[in-house]
């Protein structure tokens, strides 16, 4: 098995899976019907991308692996998503800030991944770019609306940005697997996206009248499977059916 490639695909797919799961929680509970529909759309796109990644990963893994065994039957320590995407939906500002901070990265990543030497990854990236551009526009608009809306919304969005900022740096950590894949022209060296990322985010936060956090302290761990305490509860729900009724078709 191509272990590096397999692990690298999980890195890509787990972010989509967990971000999609968090947005999915909100379905039916959003602040308006219109935002509800839009958030569900983003969630749907992300799960669609997850399926593409995991179908490919299952092919590579063989041994009867499926998109579902990969999505639902790993232990927490085996999920490689960044800590950012697993953070809970405290309020709508939090949800929009989290998703925006991921979306900017996601689009930059896909814009490079489309030139991957791996034709499957390249194809997934090409298909996903349009979706990710819509996501970042939608969530960026909300960061601006809430940042430059009322005093209350400004404060809530600023709090969300302050709290979540600590998880942004991990997006640019290069794992061993990712390094190998980048060297082979299959993966993206995410370290190279960092400067553009912070430029873009800074510009939008300033337009949103928000203060860009200056903290030099960041959290990481997700890419090596050390998650925050929120992750276990997310997985307990997400995996429940597959765990309680093993080896069945749905």
């Amino acid at each position: 098995m191509k272990t590096n490639l397999y692990n690298y695909i999980l890195e890509l797919g787990d972010n989509c899976l967990i971000a999609g799961q968090r947005l999915g929680e909100l379905c039916g509970h959003g602040p308006s019907l219109e935002t509800d529909i839009a958030c569900t759309n983003i969630s749907l796109d992300l799960f669609g991308q997850t399926r593409s990644y995991f179908q490919y990963a299952a092919d590579i893994k063989g041994e009867g692996a499926t998109e579902d065994s990969i999505a639902f039957l790993r232990y927490e320590r085996e999920y490689k998503n960044v800590l950012l995407v697993e953070q809970p939906n405290h309020d709508f500002a939090y949800t929009m800030a989290r998703q925006y901070l991921y979306d900017v990265f996601h689009l930059l990543l896909l814009e490079k991944l489309q030139f991957s030497q791996d034709i499957t990854l390249s194809a997934i990236a090409k298909k996903s770019i349009k979706e990710a551009s819509y996501h970042v526009r939608f969530t960026g608009d909300w960061v601006k609306r809430l940042g430059d809306g009322t005093e209350e919304s400004h404060e809530k969005m600023q709090n969300a940005i302050n709290d979540l900022w600590t998880y942004t740096n991990e997006l640019f950590e290069v794992t061993e697997d990712a390094k190998m894949m980048a060297e082979e022209g299959i993966g993206v060296d995410v370290a190279t996206l960092k400067e553009t990322y912070y430029e873009k985010v800074t510009a939008l936060l300033e337009e949103a009248t928000l203060t860009v956090p200056e903290s030099k302290y960041f959290q990481k761990g997700g890419k090596s499977g050390i998650h925050t305490e929120h992750m276990g509860y997310l997985l307990a729900d997400m995996q429940y059916m597959q765990r309680a009724y093993p080896n069945m078709k749905w």
Binding site: G24, C27, G28, S43, D68, E152, Y245, W250
Partner: protein, 314 residues
């Protein structure tokens, strides 16, 4: 001819009534009541299914379920829009829902406690909804009729999807089959009730018939639903939880047992298993969303002012 007589004639001729046309006040009120009730049902209907999004057993099913709940939100949107053409605002409509003044379909006050409920809701609840709604594609009020055409198309898709969930379970393990049977047991009677009280107790029928807001009586629709659903249960290999159910050669329909109307009225009056939960979820989402909607409005105003100032300056 009076305005009213012209109006009645147009309806009799199968012409559509449009928002700017003259209409009797009672027509307007009845339509607001029915369309909004229908819209509210779509929105409340998102909750029991939304309950399984985080726990759907496969990625494929999770995507399909999300898409379905999203469709329901979409239906809510068209229907609120149709309703707004009758001169009522979305805020007023929400206010009626949240205060309990407006009703929504009672079926959504039952809990979804297993994955099979996602199948049963699609198969039975959407099945019953379609039977209710197909005739409305030809109803007299234009915006409602057009919304219903779109809604019905998507509902049929949902119903097939629900049936397919049931079929997969019934072709699965013993535990899955039991899960499917259990869901049928719990959703069967509420689905029959969904088609409304018996004709004897139904208060709106006659007038609604004339306006094509109703083209068959509740009891006829219920019979149609049963006749259509029993053979589907046979395909699934499931038993309908009604010992009195049997084919009647003479009438060409299924006979069926007594419906527990006490339960029906208890739920309608707000005392079903989840009435309180559903209202709390909706009102809670709305209240938690106030600052968000306020912010969006404030931002839009600021942007508008900027534009105007730039225009003046320019």
């Amino acid at each position: 001819l009076s305005l009213e007589e012209i109006f009645e004639q147009r309806i009799a001729n199968d012409e559509k009534i449009e928002p700017k046309d003259w209409m009797p006040e009672k027509y307007r009120k009845t339509h607001i009541r029915q369309i909004s009730q229908h819209a509210h049902s779509e929105i409340i209907g998102m909750l029991p299914e939304g309950n399984w999004i985080t726990r759907a057993p496969s990625l494929r099913r999770k995507v399909a379920l999300l898409a379905k709940v999203q469709d329901e939100a979409g239906h809510g949107l068209y229907l609120y829009s149709a309703c707004e053409t009758l001169g009522i605002s979305r805020e007023e409509l929400y206010e009626q829902l949240h205060s309990g003044k407006a009703k929504y379909s009672s079926i959504f006050n039952y809990p979804t406690i297993t994955w099979a409920d996602m199948g049963a809701i699609g198969w039975l609840v959407d099945g019953a909804a379609i039977i209710n709604q197909v005739p409305l594609c030809n109803t007299s009020y234009g915006p409602y009729a057009r919304a219903m055409i779109r809604v019905c198309k998507e509902e049929s898709f949902h119903q097939r999807q629900g049936f397919e969930i049931m079929l997969t379970l019934c072709n699965g393990t013993e535990a899955q089959k039991q899960m499917a049977q259990d869901a049928l047991n719990r959703w069967w009677w509420p689905s029959l009730m969904m088609l409304g009280p018996t004709d004897a107790e139904s208060i709106h029928t006659e007038q609604s018939m004339k306006w094509k807001l109703k083209r068959k009586t509740n009891d006829d629709l219920r019979q149609q639903f049963i006749d259509q659903t029993v053979p589907q249960a046979d395909i699934l290999g499931l038993t309908i939880p009604d010992p009195d159910l049997k084919w009647n050669e003479e009438t060409g329909h299924y006979d069926f047992g007594e419906i527990d109307w006490d339960e029906f009225w208890q739920v309608v009056k707000g005392h079903g298993p989840c009435n309180k939960e559903r209202m709390n979820a909706r009102v809670g989402a709305w209240e938690r969303g106030t600052w968000v909607r306020d912010a969006a409005m404030a931002y839009a105003e600021k942007q508008q002012n900027k534009k105007e100032n730039q225009a003046k300056a320019g």
